[in-house]
């Protein structure tokens, strides 16, 4: 109770409230702009937040993270263009509803499903807190090493059909984390006798290059286009009640979002895939899916909005980010010397409480904002894509240069920008690089400290949590091998249609 009151006190600071409002509203606008997305915005704003108190910086970034998917549903439903990648599935049922003149119904369903998913995940987070506070201190070096290893494994295997490229990029990320002067034996690693490489490759520089500069270059070099015009007619409140009739779908989808959000490396896409499949299989009207099914729309939006809250669980409890956005947030913690992990729940529970409450508030702010400003947002998103590119490139400079006023950092970020552009053009994943960098560093430190107490290999898994994690790793590998064998058998059977341009990899 004391922590709750202390958490409320933290939340009532004007800087936190301002960050919450700016983050939530800004996140909706950023999400609604096709071609920007939360990752770009968070990467740009990250260095600016280092000057703030940790709670202010995190609230701002969480606001953007949690609200961007709400905004992304607007162009997905009204103009068949997802605002963020995770809203792609929303176009399937949202746009057909718009074509039938029910855009307002689709939007209100999407908003209410998103709100339900967001709140559901935070409630789960709150109820899980005592369990986390109890379990987290049992995570020693070897457990954190195994959890980080599982994160790398999952992020590689989650990229179905692109496992090789995801693996090589994850290893590239691990390699990047090793460059520079290592802090234990003080030897240089891959510095090529260059002074600018001695301090290593900064995560923020890589993140800004891969997410923000690459997106700016992509928008500037590609053909210019602006999203089509659209306007919502009819009451946007109409569909709010409709969600009550779809509470089973909303609850299951949100639960899948929470579970997938907690598991490192999986996230929105897997939860959407599972919940959409579940909704379709259990629907009385499965043929309507893809042609304006309210159930499909609710499944998609509830699942993706449940992820941000759940993604905070491994970050707060273990200091292990599950995807790129939480990896970026981890750097905010480190800059302020707040180390997320088991001790956070013991020493700074009020801080954790304040974060939970800010997550709830951001969902309320976003819902109220959207119910009254959808038509205004539709005008804002008319910005031509090339102009967006100019804006992102200009803002990227602040992010990189403000770190340590280094022209070299800007050149490295630009290099990663070109690399990110190539990856985006080839539809290859960027996230494994970031997770490789963050989790690679964690694995190196934790293995070193864990092995000091280990005499035989079996000692590594002689504690219950370590043994469970090890068993889970073995299960993940076994399941993947089983899936590969099944796919191989399926491929050997004659198929009516070919799909020669997809790369099927193991």
């Amino acid at each position: 109770m004391e922590n709750l009151i202390s958490g409320i006190a933290i939340l009532t600071q004007w800087q936190v409230i301002a960050a919450l409002i700016i983050g939530s509203v800004g996140g909706v606008i950023i999400g609604a702009l096709p071609g920007v997305g939360a990752a770009v915005a968070i990467a740009i704003l990250l260095p600016a937040t280092f000057a703030f108190e940790p709670i202010v910086g995190l609230t701002l970034l969480l606001g953007i993270y949690g609200s961007s998917m709400y905004g992304g549903a607007i162009p997905a439903i009204l103009i068949n263009t997802p605002g963020t990648a995770v809203n792609a599935l929303t176009t399937y049922d949202g746009y057909p509803l718009t074509k039938r003149g029910e855009g307002h119904r689709a939007l209100s369903l999407a908003y209410s499903a998103s709100f339900f998913g967001g709140i559901f995940s935070i409630v789960c987070l709150i109820f899980l807190s005592p369990v986390l506070a109890w379990v987290a201190p049992h995570f020693g070096s070897r457990e954190i090493f195994l959890a980080a290893f599982m994160g790398i494994l999952l992020v590689i295997l989650a990229h179905r059909g692109q496992t090789f490229s995801a693996a090589m990029l994850a290893f590239f990320g691990i390699f990047l984390s090793t460059v520079g002067l290592e802090p234990v034996k003080y030897t240089k690693r891959f510095t090529f006798d260059q002074t600018w490489l001695a301090s290593g490759v900064d995560l923020i520089v890589v993140v800004l290059g891969l997410f923000a500069i690459s997106q700016a270059l992509l928008l500037l070099v590609d053909k210019d286009h602006a999203p089509g015009e659209a306007r919502v007619r009819g009451s946007i409140f109409a569909g709010l009640k409709e969600l009550l009739g779809l509470k089973r779908i909303a609850t299951v989808s949100s639960s899948l979002g929470v579970v997938m959000g907690m598991v490192p490396g999986t996230g929105e896409f897997t939860s959407q895939f599972l919940s959409y499949t579940y909704a379709q299989k259990t629907s009385k009207d499965p043929d309507k899916f893809g042609d304006g099914s309210p159930e499909g729309l609710v499944a998609s939006e509830a699942a993706n909005n449940a992820v941000p809250g759940a993604a905070m669980i491994p970050l707060l409890a273990l200091g292990i980010p599950g995807e790129a956005l939480t990896a970026m947030m981890l750097s905010v913690f480190y800059v302020h010397n707040v180390i997320p992990g088991p001790q956070l729940f013991v020493d700074q529970l009020d801080f954790v409480m304040a974060l939970y409450m800010s997550l709830i508030l951001l969902n309320v702010i976003v819902l109220v904002f959207l119910l009254f400003s959808t038509n205004l947002l539709l005008k804002i998103i008319q910005i031509p894509t090339r102009f967006l590119g100019i804006m992102i490139l200009t803002l990227s400079f602040v992010g990189v240069f403000s770190l340590r006023n280094s022209i070299t950092d800007c050149a490295i970020a630009a290099g990663f920008g070109v690399f990110g552009l190539i990856l985006k053009r080839l539809d290859l994943p960027i996230v494994p690089i970031i997770l490789g960098m963050v989790l690679g560093g964690i694995m190196e430190v934790k293995l070193r400290s864990a092995m000091a107490k280990v005499k035989t290999p079996l000692d590594f898994i002689d504690r219950p949590i370590a043994a469970i994690l090890f068993a889970m790793i073995l299960c993940i590998i076994a399941l993947h091998v089983r899936t590969l064998v099944q796919e191989h058998r399926d491929r050997r059977r004659p198929q009516p249609t070919g799909d020669g341009d997809t790369t099927q990899q193991g």
């Binding site: 500069i213 042609d291 070109v418 341009d501 990899q505």
Partner: protein, 178 residues
């Protein structure tokens, strides 16, 4: 039909230029592998898990193995036309990288506000926006960014050397806020 469409949403497609990227990455991984003896050290009286060369070795071996497999799968897949056109697209982005780096070098000299306004306006013209209204919007955008980040958020960006020649009254203001 719907199930197929849903699967399509989550399926990734190989695109033109994949083999060029795969070859370059594999060559880069091999280069790193060739340098591992020179660029990392094996420290005496230190166990294997604490060796500074352990993690670079793991990372580079992973890069070599998986980029080799990626290259192999790309080479064995049917060729998609438009490989060099795609490479041309990648190279086109270098033009904007050059503008960005000129802007980076210009900021400590010209100052954040003037260089950001000029950069945004120049990019607008280069990107094909020729109307004076759009150029004005770009100038205003540049000014707003500079004021928000340097004056309001006090982000760490040095003052321009050009500000030193400004009249006394405006010099201190410019050095602090612009």
């Amino acid at each position: 039909m719907i199930a197929k469409t849903l699967q399509d949403t989550f399926r990734r497609y190989r695109r033109p230029g994949d083999i060029v990227y795969a070859t370059l990455f594999f060559a880069f991984a091999l280069f790193l592998l060739s340098q591992i003896g020179v660029e990392t050290k094996v420290v005496k009286r230190t166990k294997w898990f604490a060796q500074p060369s352990l993690w670079p070795m793991i990372a580079i071996l992973g890069m070599v193995i998986f980029s080799g497999l990626h290259l192999l799968s790309s080479a064995l897949s049917p060729r998609i036309p438009g490989r060099w056109k795609e490479v041309g697209f990648w190279l086109q982005s270098l033009e904007y990288v050059a503008y960005f780096l000129i802007y980076v070098v210009a900021v400590p000299w010209l100052g954040y506000l003037p260089s950001t306004m000029l950069f945004a306006a120049f990019l607008a013209v280069r990107a094909g926006f020729r109307s004076s209204a759009t150029v004005c919007i770009a100038l205003v955008f540049g000014a707003v960014v500079a004021v928000v980040f340097r004056a309001l958020l006090q982000v760490n960006i040095p003052a321009g050397r050009l500000y030193e020649v400004l009249p006394e009254a405006t010099r201190v203001f410019a050095l602090t806020y612009l």
